[in-house]
Subunit: 232 residues, 2 copies
């Protein structure tokens, strides 16, 4: 029952699509997955912007020979990917995800969006009618296999080619045990990361909201904070 | 700005009171603080129960010679302590805390209560009108200095005298920078722990709610999970 990295499924053949792949978080995750040898497709509302972003990532240092990185409109990359990461800004989340129900049917969808507001006192968690961004995605994508994950990975660390290891745990909220294996295996392809089951989707809100705390930590300690689960 | 354990205030002379000190979490924290050499006062609605619990802790293995552990009614220990930990069950939180406004005036109050519900799918976060248990305490104790902390420490680890180190970070939510030092120094007296500033009280809800995720993690991985903040 303990966490066991030797027990993970082989996900090396899966194509990972990133909806909102031109944003900081999306580009960072795309770079790390490509660097790990995963085929990656960058999605954007603009196919042209997606292609440009894919070309930029393809020319980044540290990628393996033959790295496969493409870019296209969100709908097309959703259709062509096995696992699709939702990495759009929160204020576009419902509208963008809502248009992708058909191409995302049957796919594994990983929502890493954090609904946060900002004022003069810094970040705070926004209330979400469905409970969380991940639950909103699950409601909009009834034929997809939705989980929350990669909520706490720091974009500046992801995109920095000098950084080899990113020491943190990817907390995965899902109703499906099999997703923990697949998404956890994807997380584990990034050196330093583990994917840990962290409860059902109804407990995704506080995972997303915790990003407000991590931003406060980053500010106070001049850090790029992540979360590691102890005793695992 | 980085976390620096050498920079913490000297809190060795402070008396720590535990309101609800006869529960698992309260007894565990009382034992760890006493073991670290802190004077500890156990509080309960029943002075007799508090005294019995104090006597039990005083006879536990691992305490330093001359350990100071007393027990009395919640109101009395609130009055006699410098720092008071609120460790009552959530369903008694408002009523118990509400009666202590006067004895807790001017004191540092550390709320470690997690408002959780349980059903056949396990634990989930409860909505709290004030936002969080800590904010409810702050509203009920307008003359106290309230923070949220020690939400994630596992009672079975705390009470086990065989365990020397508990590897986790105590996330501290507060409006007052000085409290981070004092409460962080108390946390750091327990070997393996650090006290980390984790944002304002308005971001305490997700710290409390995250306990639902930790319980899910504990169940899946047969662990006593805690949180460590990386890159600090």
């Amino acid at each position: 029952m303990a966490y066991d990295a030797s027990n993970l499924p082989d996900v090396s053949g899966l194509t990972v699509g990133i909806v909102g792949g031109t944003g900081d978080q999306g580009r960072g995750l795309a770079y790390r997955f490509a660097r790990a040898g995963q085929a990656v497709l960058i999605g954007s509302r603009s196919a042209e912007r997606a292609a440009r972003s894919a070309a930029e990532i393809a020319s980044s240092p540290g990628l393996p020979v033959g790295a496969s990185i493409g870019g296209a409109a969100n709908e097309e990359i959703a259709r062509r990917s096995d696992v699709v990461v939702i990495a759009v800004p929160w204020d576009g989340h419902a509208s963008i995800v809502g248009t992708l129900a058909e191409p995302l049917a049957g796919k594994i969808v990983v929502d890493c969006v954090n609904p946060l507001g900002f004022d003069k006192h810094g970040p705070y968690a926004l209330a979400v009618e469905e409970g969380s961004a991940a639950q909103q995605a699950a409601a909009l994508l009834p034929q997809s296999r939705v989980c929350a994950a990669f909520n706490h990975v720091s974009a500046p660390l992801l995109v920095d080619p000098q950084i080899d290891r990113i020491e943190l745990d990817v907390l995965i909220c899902t109703e499906e045990r099999e997703l923990v294996g697949i998404v956890g295996a994807l997380a584990a392809r990034i050196p330093g990361m583990r994917g840990i089951y962290a409860g059902r989707l109804r407990n995704a809100h506080q995972i997303e909201a915790l990003t407000a705390n991590l931003i406060a930590i980053n500010k106070r300690y001049q850090a790029h904070a992540g979360i590691r689960v102890t005793d695992l």
